[in-house]
Structures are given as C-alpha cells and as structure tokens.
C-alpha cells in the first residue's frame, strides 16, 4: 500500500497524494523527512494551482515507474515511443497554460515555492518563448515595470547593442 499524504491548499481543499508523487517537491520532501508533515500539510498554493502541480507530478511519476519496470529488450524503441507520448502530453499541458496566463504564472510561483526544478524549468522556457520577440516597451507594460533609465542611458544601450534591436 502506497503511503498517502494529505495536502491542504490555501483555500482549504484537501488533496490525497501518494508520497512518491509529492516527494518530487524538494520542499515537501524536506517537510516529510523533518517529521513536520503529520496529518495535513498546509501549502500556500490555491486549489486550482495545486491541482495543476499534481497533474504534472503524476505524469512525471508515471514515467519513472514505467522505466523501472522495463527490461533492456526493446527498451530503446519503447523509450522512443514514450518520449513521443511525453512530448504530446507536454504540448497539451503548455497549450492550456498559454491560453490561461494567470494559471501559468501561478504555477510558476508554486513550482518555485515547492521547489520542483523540472516544472520550473519547463515553465521558464514557456515564459521565455512568450516574451522572446517583444520590445522593451511591451515588456514594461506586460509586467508593470517602471522605466528607470534616462533617455541618454537608453540611447547608450541601444547604441551598444544596435544589432539586437533590428527587426
């Protein structure tokens, strides 16, 4: 019988999760090791975001278990197929996030808080792809950033890296 843990979201929803799934989070793993995780584990993550986090963790867990059960014969072909499956799953996952940016950034903050390096890396790449072609002005607006350069300083940066600003 797998050991189960109860995670409590910031809006008081309870999620029953297998230890193996949730141990991917370094933060929770440490809580469990320290013995701090008895009963419900309260997390500063909303239920909507936590559900998404667990969706990711379960998919990753699924992958590791299957790999462990493999014998070497036919492994390569199977791995290739699995890679395709994972790609497909990740594409679907990222499409959903691209459509709902609130969830994307909530998830990014949660992955940082829960210390989930693989998810964090995946999300940072998504955000990077999202902003890559944009101009500084658009970025400021997008993230509510104040331009604290003087016009001269701005000009100097543009002159130094002129090629980067060419369309």
């Amino acid at each position: 019988m797998a050991i189960m843990y109860a995670l409590k979201s910031s809006d008081n929803e309870i999620f029953e999760v297998e230890q193996k799934v949730i141990e991917q989070s370094e933060t929770i793993k440490k809580m469990i090791e320290d013995g701090a995780a008895t009963g419900e584990i309260p997390l500063q993550v909303s239920s909507k975001t936590l559900a998404k986090v667990l969706e990711w963790c379960k998919q990753r867990q699924h992958k590791t278990v299957e790999n462990e059960n493999d014998d070497n014969k036919g492994k390569r072909k199977k791995e290739r197929d699995e890679d395709d499956d994972i790609k497909e799953w990740e594409n679907k996952f990222s499409d959903e996030l691209k459509a709902d940016k609130d969830v994307l950034f909530d998830l990014l903050l949660a992955s940082n808080y829960l210390d989930l390096p693989a998810l964090l890396s995946f999300l940072c790449q998504l955000v990077a792809d999202m902003v890559a072609g944009k101009m500084p002005e658009e970025i400021r607006r997008m993230f509510n950033i104040e331009n604290d350069f003087t016009p001269e300083e701005e000009k100097a940066i543009t002159a130094e890296h002129g090629w980067a600003f060419q369309p």
Binding site: P136, M142, F143
Partner: protein
C-alpha cells in the same frame, strides 16, 4: 574596453515606432496578471527566464529597466545562459597575402538575421596588420595583433574577445613560451608555471571537464592542464583508433560539445574517407559516430562537385545539434553535410585562389574557429 562602433552600431535606432505602439497600448485596457508581476519581481525567476532567451532578446531586454540590466550583467547569468548551437565559423582565406582575410559564416538563423559584423570592426580597429584569431574556446576568442607571428607571444599583443557581447580585453604581454590565462573575478592572470611545447605538433587545446586538453598530432597522445589545481601532465585517454589501412589518416578536428569529446580522422590520399569519433562517456574507447565515403558523396552530389576527375574537399568543422552536420569546403562552395539524411546543403559560395587551394590540399584548413554565443565576461 568596448570596441569602436561598426557601421551597424552607428545606424541609429528609431524609437518613433514604439512610441506610437505605446500610445496604442495605453488606449487598450491591459489587464495585468498579478502573479506575473510577482514572478518577474523575483530575481532568481527572472534570471531563469532570461537565461532561456535567444541572445538577441537578452540584449534587447537590458533596456527594460536597471534591474534587468543588472541581472543580465551578473556573472551568474553568464553561467546560466547556455548556447543552443554553434552559431557560426570564423575562417581565414588569403593566407599568403600580407593581410589574411577573416571570413565569418553564420550557421544559426538568428545570427543570419542580425548580420553580426562585430568581427569586421575588430580587424579594422587600431591594428594595421589586422588581428588574427589564435584559438576559440567556449565562445571566447584569443586574438593576436600579428598574424604571421601569432604563435610567438613575445612580439605581439594578445586579446581576449567575446564577439557576442563585443567586449575585448588586452592581456598583459608575455615573456616566453606558451602559457595559459584564466579569468578570475574580472581579471586575467597567469595560471600555473609556464611550460613549453617545443617540437610538438599540437591540436588547439580543448576545454573539457575542468581541464584544457591538448592532442599531440604526432604521437596521438593527450595531455592536459587542470584549471583548478593548476597542474599539467599526460592525460590517460584511449588512443584514437587506427587500423592498418588508415596509415595515412590524419586527425583533423578535435573538440568538445556538451561534455563529449569528438575527433575526426580522414584520409586525403587515394579515396577520401572521413571517420567521426566520439569518446564514450566512461572514457574507455572512441566509437565511430559517422563515416563518410568521399566517392559516394561526390557521385550523389555531382551538381556541386562538377565534372571533375579528382575531387577535392576539406573539413572546416563539426556542428552538433538535433541535426548534426559537417561543414566542408568543396571548390566554389562551403557546404553542410547532414548525417541524418546524408544530404548536402549549400551554405555559401566561396572561390579560393590557387595558392589557397594548394595550401588546403596539403595542410587542410588550419584556421577555423567556432563562434559560440556566450555572455562570459572578458
């Protein structure tokens, strides 16, 4: 020190368009995402995101705000940011003239779009004899002020140049023999005791797992310099494979990509054969990754080789990536040979004079340096 601006840099950038864009944006009601603002306010998260951007965007985003500029300039950022591919090649033509020409060939679409011309300004800048590249390593170029004496440290100045950031630093003059300089906390200093390479024919050093590794082309043995311990000595790596029929095969290319050492052995006498080897992860042996048969290559690409009895090709570089390829020179063209589909793609036209072509046929192309993007400080 920043180099003088090239014509490309001087070309002023018109902000007008973006002011217009800003006004339009102001009129639209933009709904800010609170979690996005919070995430971007976290320095670590912002650096993680920026480190996944193409170099062009990174430079552009230096202008967002001072905090962004600062985070991009930090050494931690240059460690986080990893190049996705080899972005181009520098190579020399006109060897015998007083002013050899450095050519830059972009291999990455982003570079093509930006027409990176930094190097032109490097060669034109302050040195009437031109600047030559002695070595390239992880995106930094070791340059020298005197092409024809570029291996003699006593009669010329050396520079470390980062073509991505267009920053250059002049190294202190050296007295004798070959030494290495390593960058530490913003200064370059001499590293370890000097040692000499008398009477050895070496391939350029390659930085691999904390060491600079040299390949002795005569004995085909390796020796290395441990950068942290500042110790050098023989390096026990398996010898590059050789078989009887390969007696005349020379090693042409020795380099590292993503932690793997690669080398190319080829024969130019009789039938052209090219073998590309990679060192196994456990360092037990070199395995053949690819093999190219010159005759076959020519037959399948007769339109490029023309109707010649004796074909000629020369290896410039190996380029790793999802679709790895070999950059070759064949008379009139520089081409990419893709291992996956065994097809040749023309990269550019290049006609060499007879002197150059003669030199190539005997020595191979000796002065080719990879351009890898990096934000490393110099």
């Amino acid at each position: 020190m920043t180099l003088g601006t090239s014509p490309l840099h001087v070309q002023s950038f018109s902000n007008e368009r973006y002011y217009v864009a800003e006004v339009v944006l102001q009129k639209l009601t933009i709904s800010l995402i609170p979690s996005a603002v919070e995430a971007i306010e976290n320095d670590d998260l912002l650096q993680e995101i920026l480190s996944r951007l193409p170099a062009q965007s990174v430079f552009k985003f230096k202008r967002v705000a001072k905090r962004w500029q600062h985070l991009i300039s930090e050494p931690r950022f240059s460690e986080l940011w990893k190049p996705k591919c080899i972005a181009g090649l520098f190579f020399v033509t006109n060897w015998y003239s007083h002013y050899p020409t450095y050519n830059f060939m972009p291999l990455d679409n982003e570079i093509k779009a930006t027409k990176m011309l930094h190097f032109k300004c490097l060669t034109a800048n302050e040195n009437p004899c031109g600047i030559s590249i002695v070595q390239s390593c992880n995106g930094l170029l070791l340059c020298c002020s005197n092409y024809h004496n570029r291996r003699d440290s006593t009669c010329c100045n050396y520079y470390v140049y980062n073509p991505t950031t267009n920053k250059m630093r002049t190294l202190p003059r050296l007295q004798n023999s070959e030494r290495k300089m390593t960058a530490e906390t913003g200064t370059w200093r001499l590293s370890g005791d000097p040692f000499s390479f008398d009477n050895l024919i070496l391939h350029d050093g390659v930085y691999w797992s904390g060491k600079i590794v040299w390949l002795n082309l005569q004995t085909e043995t390796f020796f290395s310099f441990d950068v942290d311990k500042e110790e050098y000595g023989e390096m026990l790596l398996p010898k590059p494979p050789i078989e009887d029929e390969w007696r005349h095969y020379k090693i042409k290319y020795f380099n590292e990509w993503r932690g793997n050492l690669n080398l190319i052995r080829y024969s130019n006498t009789g039938k052209m054969q090219i073998y590309i080897f990679q060192l196994k992860e456990e360092q037990s042996e070199w395995i053949i990754k690819h093999h190219i048969d010159g005759d076959k290559l020519m037959r399948n690409n007769a339109h490029l080789f023309g109707n010649q009895d004796r074909y000629f090709l020369c290896i410039l570089s190996l380029v790793h990536g999802e679709d790895s390829y070999l950059v070759l020179y064949i008379p009139g063209h520089v081409v990419a040979y893709h291992f996956r589909n065994k097809k040749i793609r023309k990269l550019s036209d290049l006609t060499l004079d007879l002197d150059d072509q003669h030199a190539l046929s005997t020595l191979g192309w000796t002065d080719v340096h990879q351009y890898i993007q990096t934000f490393s400080h110099v």
